[in-house]
Symmetry: C2
Subunit: 428 residues, 2 copies
């Protein structure tokens, strides 16, 4: 990224869009409501046109006509075929990634395996920014194993970032596992993964990254950065469809040493032998469990192909520029209106969304998702005061960002949000 | 079932079809190849026409246009909405069933919960007929807990049935859990569930049934029969689509006592509070884990609606009659050709498929799935010598059965199967 001067006009936004070398990729997605500014691709990515076609084929041709024979025609390989494509996006080898289960189930499998691989250590290091489901999974494992494991959560002093020194200090000879979300779901704070991996390796601990808010948006070089394990979801920047199955990554030379605890038949060495005794597969396949949900899986492939074609480095370059532009407009237009920036200012420490904090964030969000006056803007609200604006460079335009900030400014200066109820007790 | 006389002619099969009060339901499914006799609905059920429509709507209208708002429009309730419909098919209350994860993951969750609810007992009772994935899951749990649990498998003396006396003898004061597949995947042997539940209850053990080969085909009255827990898949007789998510059942008054070990956010009491500490939900929702795969879930609903409309008692009455008819034709036409019947003769001890055993079963199966000469018949081969013929009464016709038996007879009497290779070493 070269530092660049932005300008505050609508014309300038249009100019940026005209210069955007990725602009053609927007047409790969179904986008048919010009009045909708969708800034929630970090929660649910848009529908790739080819995903709809591919799914129709899977339903009518494969399920409808091929029936059970679909398993031999390609369904059985979906977990590894999709995994190989994700591997290319995260800097891993094709045989190190699988699509299976949900992010939480995958985290359970790998975290249990990691703790069993470090039987004399009792500490799991994570942070207060981690997605709660990840922390819940660790709490459940600690309760299940009942061996005195403990979860240490690194705090944040400013609610935006985690101090590297605090991470370094937390990782010690007692640490079995360091598990962090690479890009934090609220603030978009991004870790220096290579650095954390190095500290963990030095201390003899394993690392397990949640890439849900990273994959498809920021550069990832899992092999080069020495990551041991990772999980992530496919329905955000990968555009894989609502609740689409998750992925997991295990470094090749660790696979044989890790025993995941859910011994489903498709993780067995030879599932169709129907042997009465489980023998784990000798590769990434040992991390499979049950029969994959084919329809939700076939929908994933088109989004991966678009990202591979666009190239993750170009996607990230645009993301960094767009979030910088958003923050520039924020400084110009919103900073004096009771907002504070809830995300790091440096793109090197940031993912692909920007969090704006405001005491009336809940009501402002309600006003944004109404269509009139002005365009409808769909962000995410995250308790207690975050308006999360997601940048999905494959389809988010600079004009989208410009119009969204305009609309937020109008809502606040004209106090339009006061027409909406305050955050209800217990409804977050 | 009244005993009835069958006749061996094609005309008689046609007559049975004409008298079939469920025949109209066949048209609810996509069936467009008159030369294909599909007897594998017990592996993958056919595509309901409405499932295709519903899925297209979910893709284009919901994902494509509503985007993230789809979660508020109904996606979040899919696990319980589908669960309530399955509850009506299995004789449970609507708040006792959920659709989530895979059968193996659900079995893991509930079996761990059961063992922890019986902390002073060390025995899991199952049988050699259980689907291997179920046994693998138990083996994995035993390995994980490392508390000296053991798995006792009731044998079968004839490869077709399990002796009730053997089950009774296996369930004792040491037994924490009795977990069986209600209808065995190879022989279709069916347990007297109420009887087994009574024995378990008497001994203080919990029961966990795998209904994968029962649900949608045979009568189930989980509440009335005193079942504690159950799991099952939705892609066989429920016609939910390839690899569609599984379901789980937990008796209402047990729910609060069972702690499942995979603490994902959607099993938490208030997931959108994003609290850093897990508190389990106070109902069946505590057995949820991660975000549901929406597309694979919406495909399930149409099949459930067809079954509810047809009525499970009528479906079962037709299934019993069709399997009886199949066995009648087997006796007439195949019994002298090296075949033996691999399923119980009494419908009271049988599910909705019939297993034919033959030393050349693998080669015969290969010949059956070829289209010429004669119709293409799709069964399942199950190692070492089972040809599994599945009856799905919503769309299987008597003429299908008649033609299939004819074709098998031709393949064996004319030795057409000899054109196919013997079962390869290790390819089963």
């Amino acid at each position: 990224m070269t530092a660049m001067q932005f300008q505050p006009s609508a014309d300038f936004a249009r100019q940026l869009d005209e210069q955007d070398e990725l602009s053609a990729f927007r047409h790969r997605f179904v986008i048919d409501d010009p009045n909708l500014i969708y800034l929630d691709g970090n929660s649910l990515g848009r529908l790739p046109r080819r995903a709809a076609d591919r799914l129709a084929q899977a339903v009518h041709q494969e399920w409808g006509r091929r029936l059970i024979r679909g398993w031999n025609d390609g369904w059985m390989d979906l977990p590894s075929r999709l995994g190989a494509k994700i591997a290319a996006l995260v800097g891993a080898r094709p045989d190190e990634v699988l699509v299976a289960d949900s992010t939480s189930v995958n985290l359970f499998k790998l975290a249990v395996a990691a703790l069993r691989a470090r039987p004399n250590r009792r500490k799991i290091v994570s942070d207060v920014f981690n997605f709660p489901s990840d922390l819940y999974i660790f709490q459940g494992i600690i309760d299940l194993l009942n061996q005195g494991h403990r979860l240490e959560l690194i705090p944040s002093s400013d609610g935006v970032s985690i101090e590297p020194a605090d991470i370094r200090a937390a990782i010690d000879e007692e640490t079995a596992l360091v598990s962090l979300t690479h890009v934090a779901f609220k603030s978009a704070f991004r870790y220096d993964m290579a650095q954390v991996n190095a500290w963990a390796r030095q201390a003899g601990a394993l690392t397990l990254w949640d890439l849900s808010h990273s994959v498809g948006a920021v550069p990832l070089r899992l092999n080069e950065w020495g990551a041991d394990m990772a999980v992530g979801c496919t329905y955000k920047y990968l555009n894989g469809g609502p609740g689409a199955p998750a992925f997991l990554y295990v470094r090749r030379d660790l696979q044989a040493d890790l025993r995941q605890p859910i011994w489903g038949w498709l993780g067995a060495d030879r599932p169709f032998d129907f042997s009465l005794t489980y023998t784990p597969g000798d590769s990434i396949h040992r991390f499979r469990v049950g029969t994959p949900p084919v329809l939700s899986m076939v929908a994933i492939e088109a989004g991966l192909e678009i990202l591979l074609e666009a190239g993750i480095d170009r996607v990230w370059a645009k993301s960094a520029r767009q979030t910088e532009y958003l923050i520039y407009l924020f400084d110009q237009r919103l900073a004096g209106l009771g907002f504070s920036l809830g995300s790091p200012r440096s793109p090197a420490c940031r993912g692909s969304h920007v969090s704006l904090r405001h005491p009336d964030a809940y009501r402002i969000t309600q006003a944004m998702i109404q269509a009139a006056p002005g365009p409808q803007v769909v962000p995410d609200f995250r308790t207690p005061d975050n308006i999360r604006l997601g940048i999905a460079p494959l389809y988010t335009t600079y004009t989208d960002i410009y119009r969204a900030i305009n609309r937020i400014e109008t809502i606040v200066t004209e106090r339009l949000y006061e027409a909406y109820p305050a955050i209800p007790q217990g409804v977050t």
